[in-house]
């Protein structure tokens, strides 16, 4: 059945709540309203107010209480209404949840999912556009995923809910209603960890995730038509742990790497990906590793500013051409 990215997330929540009565959903406006974006629509009617819980505006509480319920066997899926607000819960995520098992000597588990609608390109300005994933990808004890397709959005959320660890799940707001695909009627999950080659190619690799996957695919199509270039596109899907084998595999195959993400350049995941390749596949490289990412500024509001800051297919095309000619 055809489903949007948003509907896929909603389906995953319905299915997992039906499958496991310990799954609860908690956050600001998730119950009565069905979420600011309607991602949790219908859950209250289906599962009742004990399991679908509207909270006060209290991000630290939402994550902390999620952790408290999780260590006693619940599987809470908590929502940050906008991923930008996750900074208010930062301590509970990186200190309470991420260290929980470690500081209990391996005798505790914290099966908690933190959903964070993130991403720019919707004129959301400084506090409704952020891509905060790199704040979390260097925190041991967490897993971080960022699906880019409806299929992965559903499958990765189901895996995250079933996982025994805190998982930060970044869903890209621009994709909610802009992409759709046919999803299998049968049950499926997408494992946390493996990246996926979205388009095989020979000449150059784009390594990306989340919102910029679609821009990369567009750019790959353009340079195939106009320049005859064969571009491989690798979708990381999981950002912690990174799929090192897939990253090194594509680097060894094409020898030219362009990393693309919507998060800012400095300190973004691209730096880590580049380091992995430089350390372990240096011999295979035919050119410098390059990156296309948001400029090192805040995500400004006015359209000319926003467009200037964010990556897009044209900027990726230009970068591909530059690197291909190297």
């Amino acid at each position: 059945m055809e489903a949007t990215y948003l509907a896929a997330i909603n389906q995953a929540l319905h299915e997992e709540m039906r499958r496991d009565e310990n799954v609860i959903v908690m956050g600001e406006d998730v119950a009565e309203l069905g979420g600011a974006f309607k991602v949790t629509d219908g859950l209250l009617a289906a599962f009742g107010e004990d399991r679908v819980i509207d909270t006060p505006i209290s991000e630290a509480l939402i994550v902390g209480a999620g952790a408290g319920a999780a260590i006693l066997g619940m599987r809470p899926v908590v929502e940050m209404q906008f991923g930008d607000f996750i900074s208010c819960a930062f301590d509970q995520i990186v200190n309470t949840a991420a260290t929980l098992r470690y500081r209990h000597g391996g005798r505790a588990a914290c099966p908690l999912v933190i959903r964070a609608p993130s991403g720019a390109g919707i004129h959301g300005a400084l506090f409704h556009s952020q891509n905060p994933e790199a704040w979390f990808t260097r925190v041991p004890g967490l897993k971080v995923v960022a699906p880019a397709t409806a299929y992965d959005a559903k499958g990765l959320l189901k895996s995250a809910i079933r996982d025994g660890n805190p998982v930060v799940y970044f869903e890209h707001k621009r994709l909610y209603r802009s992409i759709k695909e046919n999803l299998p009627d049968a049950e499926f999950t997408v494992p946390i960890g493996p990246a996926e080659v979205r388009r095989p190619g020979r000449d150059l690799s784009l390594i990306t995730y989340g919102g910029t996957l679609h821009q990369c695919l567009d750019a790959a199509g353009i340079v195939a038509r106009e320049d005859g270039l064969s571009i491989e596109v690798l979708d990381l899907r999981t950002l912690l742990p990174l799929d090192r084998e897939a990253i090194l595999g594509t680097a060894r195959k094409t020898g030219k790497i362009l990393i693309v993400h919507e998060d800012r350049l400095t300190g973004g995941i691209g730096g880590e990906v580049a380091a992995i390749i430089a350390e372990h596949a240096f011999d295979s490289l035919d050119g410098p590793i390059r990156r296309v990412a948001a400029l090192d500024t805040h995500t400004a509001y006015s359209p000319p500013l926003e467009e200037f800051i964010l990556p897009n297919a044209n900027k990726i095309v230009a970068a591909i051409r530059g690197l291909a000619a190297y």
Partner: protein, 343 residues
């Protein structure tokens, strides 16, 4: 614990007497444990931060004694006594402090950050007050599952300034969660005295703003604490919603063993030591006709033996292997084995 719980629930005088003596034993054991820990720290046998709860024994004893197995407790960083009263093995606790393999966190974290969830004791972080949202979450689980359990979240008056405390109490009030918030008001947040921390007299006054009851009790009066805690815990367990107990008390040592606490007046320390919870409770036992001298000697001998055994166990326990630093980060994800349908 099972013993104490049975006794607490009983109205039989003999059992009540036994229970009251057990409370005395716990206070004495905690004090002796605290003193030994301070000494071991001076001897460099405990390397990390040590936050003594000496002087505050009546609070943890009085609040934890009426709890049942399965109740959830999130202690604060100087609540070593919570672990003991909840039945955590003193040897494992000592091994935890020495960074040994047999400690609660297997050497991963220091002092009381290693919890013991088998005894439903949560290991708090150093971000004070951050365990109150966790306690609220535990209470939420009890409420959803209709379990007759309570969660207890300890915090200091210092931590009461943090947003986490507000968020947890507000949510608990809104949902009428079965959680007891226990403030150990020892008058100093590290070096900062009360009048620089808050503009009101009692932390308990804030409970009204969250729609539940707040109580003030002398935290150095075991009998007062335990009597109040029994009532509060019963009401909370029966679904009456959260309550806040503020225990006025005092820590004898500095914030940590590194802190000589020179910011405090010697007279003030003396004044509080004259209200020490242990002799105060001994006075009560004496008036009830006990031979306190004999009981004290017996209990001192018992606690000495327990401590000797705990220290021996900890000292003889191995250190963790270096590579274990990379273990215990992730739980297995056994339900995550289904393959990607398209892979």
């Amino acid at each position: 614990m099972a013993h104490a719980e049975t006794v607490a629930a009983s109205s039989e005088t003999g059992q009540r007497v036994e229970y009251e003596l057990q409370l005395y034993y716990w206070m004495k054991l905690i004090r002796a444990f605290e003193e030994r820990v301070s000494r071991l720290h001076r001897q460099n046998k405990i390397l990390g931060g040590v936050y003594s709860g000496a002087g505050q024994e009546a609070v943890v004893t009085g609040v934890c004694a009426p709890l049942r197995p399965g109740d959830f407790v999130a202690p604060l960083h100087r609540d070593l006594g919570v672990f003991l009263v909840r039945g955590v093995d003193p040897g494992r606790l000592m091994a935890q402090l020495m960074g040994k393999e047999t400690g609660l966190s297997r050497g991963k974290d220091s002092f009381l950050h290693g919890g013991d969830l088998e005894h439903h004791v949560f290991g708090s972080t150093s971000m004070l007050g951050s365990s109150l949202p966790v306690a609220a979450g535990a209470a939420l689980k009890f409420q959803i599952k209709k379990e007759a359990q309570v969660a207890v979240g300890f915090f200091g008056e210092g931590a009461s300034s943090r947003g986490d405390v507000h968020e947890a109490m507000n949510f608990a009030g809104v949902r009428k969660l079965p959680v007891v918030f226990v403030c150990e008001n020892n008058r100093y947040a590290y070096s900062t005295p009360l009048d620089k921390q808050m503009a009101i007299e009692n932390v308990a006054e804030r409970a009204a703003a969250y729609g539940f009851k707040g109580h003030v009790v002398s935290g150095n009066d075991l009998l007062a604490v335990v009597q109040l805690a029994e009532k509060v815990i019963r009401r909370v367990r029966e679904g009456g919603g959260p309550e806040l107990i503020e225990c006025k008390t005092y820590r004898y040592r500095g914030h940590s063993e590194h802190d000589a606490a020179l910011y405090r007046d010697k007279e003030e320390l003396l004044e509080w030591q004259s209200r020490d919870p242990i002799p105060r409770y001994e006075f009560y036992l004496e008036k009830k006709g006990h031979d306190v001298k004999r009981i004290r000697e017996e209990i001192d001998e018992r606690t000495r033996a327990v401590l000797q055994q705990a220290v021996e166990f900890a000292e003889q326990s191995p250190m963790p292997a270096p590579e274990e630093a990379l273990e215990d980060l992730y739980a297995p994800a056994p339900m995550n084995s289904a393959r990607d349908g398209r892979a």
